[in-house]
């Protein structure tokens, strides 16, 4: 962990130093012409659709049309031509959609200094390139509360994609939220190893239901776990978008609200007072990256009030990973009075008490 923290901060310093010289406000030449590149189908029901919905809201707010290209895989050979086609046709704000666009966007941003690039879930930043992501541990923490409120057994399940920082923090936050409502709650997590694999998600959700788990949370791209929950007569909580659209079992969803970030951000770019951030934008509920759609009818009014009060507290500055906090092995991860810094969040490879996992 310490080694990781150190490499993170060393890399961060190097990054900061490399951008420091060039750090100037970005000035857009001509009228804003945004364009969006989506790595899968824009109506996938999850991640990409949330971005496409934000695109439509930005169109309305700013009175521009934003053309979109779908199914541009996370390969440099596919990304660069699509982006350059848009730029040749006058686009000057390129909106990405994937972690796998990071390197190609970095190269393109250096090649086209007059074009601004905004990429969700990216890892690269620069003078005219900014990655952004949401602090989903805040919303999943609140959905964990809803899950515990809906659960009778206190045994919660969670279907997750791959075990690394930004997934692990949703699992931990879910368990910590659940324990706010029920101090004995447990979260059994299954990693499917894939973001979009309905077959594995179904197998995982069914296995969880058979163990007597009565609420299934998720951090994968399809609504399958929610559909299985409905079939089994239990509850669930969703991710990406409000999944009650697909299943009445959904009691709460961690949703993306990218328009709340993109609209003011693009307005700033147009006005000429936008500046990129060396580590990208890491958006809380208050800043408009993530939020919750809550709650279903299995959550009592009293519990719902508790959840909304926590949401207010988080918007007011409460940090989910505040010390003293130990991992499930008993190692101290956050000291009393401190909060987990962003580098440690991205590198999170430990679980809190109450999380039961394969590894």
């Amino acid at each position: 962990m310490h080694r990781r923290l150190i490499t993170w901060s060393v890399a961060g310093l190097a990054l900061a130093a490399s951008v420091a010289g060039a750090s100037a406000e970005f000035v857009l030449k001509g009228d804003p012409k945004p364009a969006m590149i989506i790595f899968s189908q824009k109506n996938d029901g999850g991640w990409s659709q949330a971005l496409d919905e934000a695109r439509q809201k930005v169109e309305k707010e700013l009175g521009v049309t934003i053309p979109v290209v779908e199914n541009v895989p996370e390969n440099a050979t596919a990304i660069k031509p699509a982006v350059e086609l848009f730029i040749d046709r006058g686009a000057n704000i390129i909106l990405g959609s994937a972690f796998g666009y990071s390197d190609a966007f970095k190269e393109l941003a250096e090649k086209y200094p007059n074009v601004v690039f905004l990429n969700p879930a990216g890892t690269t930043n620069g003078n005219n390139l900014m990655s952004y992501y949401g602090r989903t541990y805040e919303s999943q923490y609140l959905c964990g509360m809803a899950a515990a409120a809906a659960s009778k057994s206190g045994k919660l399940g969670f279907v997750a994609a791959n075990p690394f920082g930004l997934v692990n923090w949703t699992v931990n936050a879910y368990a910590m939220g659940a324990r706010q409502i029920n101090p004995d709650a447990t979260v059994t997590v299954v990693f499917t190893g894939a973001w979009n694999d309905p077959v594995k998600e179904r197998a995982a959700a069914e296995a969880l239901a058979e163990q007597g788990i009565d609420v299934i949370g998720q951090h994968v791209d399809t609504p399958t776990p929610q559909i299985v929950a409905k079939e089994k007569g239990i509850y669930g909580t969703g991710h990406h978008r409000d999944l009650s659209e697909f299943s009445t079992a959904s009691q709460c969803s961690s949703v993306w609200v990218w328009d709340r970030f993109l609209v003011p951000e693009i307005k700033k770019i147009v006005a000429g007072d936008w500046e990129s951030q060396p580590y990208g934008a890491f958006l809380s509920i208050a800043q408009g990256g993530t939020d919750i759609a809550c709650c279903g009818d299995a959550v009592s009014e009293e519990d719902k009030a508790k959840i909304m009060a926590e949401r207010e507290a988080i918007m007011g500055g409460k940090h989910v990973f505040a010390g003293p906090l130990n991992d499930r092995e008993g190692t101290e991860r956050v000291a009393a009075g401190a909060v987990l810094d962003d580098g440690a969040l991205w590198g999170m490879d430990w679980f809190v008490d109450g999380v039961i996992s394969q590894q």
Binding site: R4, T7, W8, A11, A35, Q41, P67, V68, V69, E70, N71, V72, P73, E74, N75, A76, T77, A78, K80, P81, A82, E84, L85, F86, D88, R89, F99, G100, D103, T123, N162, P163, F164, G165, G193, W346, G347
Partner: protein, 359 residues
């Protein structure tokens, strides 16, 4: 009675099987197939509301004259040519290698292994990466090849299944030991400058295209000119007869399979060292099955493979342009790509058959 004896004045078309057709006529049939496919596609585009004038002025002119676009097509074509050769050489030996994707993944794993462990001095790094990539590809085909030769286990099944094992092993590496220590994100660390294929100096072309060209020359010599190629032709036409006449069919099949694996591995090297500059989770997408399609359409001829690979690359880039220019849905792009491929495949009928009008 009299009108029965009188022959009807209708003619008919006789189909005759043709043994051989000169190369220039075959090329003409191929081009006619492309033209027929384009004609149908244009009708579809016009029917969906794209103006014919706009189509010719912007689209056709753009695709064939913009240097940026020509280079995008060639960059895309490089790895496609190599996987096409890989499929072609295996199919020539009637070894149905469906596992190109897995061998591409293992090629990249071999190259990345050398890069991140700093194996060999700097000036030898790229050749070492290429060598390990070829070995990685061979490693991933040797088991299906031996299973086929020793136990008559169908290689279509085994090579296909090996793809899934390779992908899951790739995920294991990227979420485990090879995770980027700088960002804690699931891709390998970036290659050093001396671990990347140098640019050729025009647009975004790099050495990977040159590697593809060298491999084409090698495969042309090997498959068309050499004694090995002659025997391979024999095995392709009639394996039993070849064996009866003393050709060592098993040795030949094993050699062709290993060469196929090595070529796929080198494609993995060309993609990771030439295009992505690191190992990602998605660099191989689209290459496995494209390779099979390309070899099939080119009837395993190395020069034909070059032509078809460029056609497939053009279809990929043109598909993006159609979306960018006219905002037509991706499904329409796939429809158009399929129509062109079907027309080219159908042109094969006229190569194999002669049509004669009989009175």
């Amino acid at each position: 009675m009299a009108d029965i004896a009188k022959p009807r004045r209708f003619g008919r078309i006789n189909l005759e099987i043709r043994d051989d057709m000169p190369m220039w006529q075959q090329s003409l049939a191929f081009l006619a197939g492309v033209a027929a496919g384009l004609a149908v596609s244009v009708l579809i585009l016009i029917a969906s509301g794209v103006g014919p004038g706009a189509l010719i002025n912007e689209f056709v002119v753009f695709i064939f004259t913009s240097p940026k676009n020509i280079s995008a097509v060639l960059v895309q074509a490089g790895p496609l040519i190599i996987v096409g050769l890989s499929a072609g050489i295996a199919f020539k030996a009637r070894f149905w290698n469906i596992g190109i994707e897995g061998q591409v993944i293992f090629g990249a794993i071999g190259a990345t292994l050398v890069a991140i462990n700093n194996i060999g001095p700097e000036f030898l790094r790229l050749p070492m990466m290429a060598l390990f990539a070829a070995l990685g590809g061979m490693l991933w085909i040797i088991l299906p090849a031996l299973l086929k030769l020793r136990l008559q286990i169908n290689e279509i099944i085994t090579t296909l299944l090996m793809n899934y094992i390779a992908f899951n092993f790739l995920l294991h590496l990227l979420y485990g030991p090879w995770q980027d220590p700088v960002s804690s994100f699931p891709h390998s660390q970036q290659f050093e400058s001396f671990e990347r294929l140098a640019p050729l100096g025009w647009q975004s072309l790099n050495m990977s295209l040159l590697i593809a060209a060298i491999l084409v020359v090698f495969c042309f010599w090997f498959m068309v000119k050499s004694r090995f190629g002659f025997q391979l032709n024999f095995v392709h036409s009639n394996a039993r007869m070849a064996k009866a006449l003393g050709v060592r069919v098993a040795v030949l099949t094993l050699a062709a399979a290993l060469l196929s694996g090595a070529l796929s591995g080198l494609a993995g090297f060309a993609i990771s060292a030439g295009i992505e500059s690191r190992m990602t989770q998605s660099f191989f997408i689209g290459y496995g099955f494209s390779g099979i399609l390309i070899a099939f359409l080119a009837r395993n001829n190395p020069l034909g493979i070059v032509a078809v690979a460029i056609l497939v690359a053009t279809l990929m880039i043109a598909g993006q342009s159609l979306q960018v220019f006219y905002q037509i849905p991706f499904a329409m792009v796939q429809l158009i790509q399929a129509i062109i491929v079907i027309c080219v495949a159908a042109s094969e009928f006229f190569i194999r058959h002669r049509m004669r009008w009989v009175d």
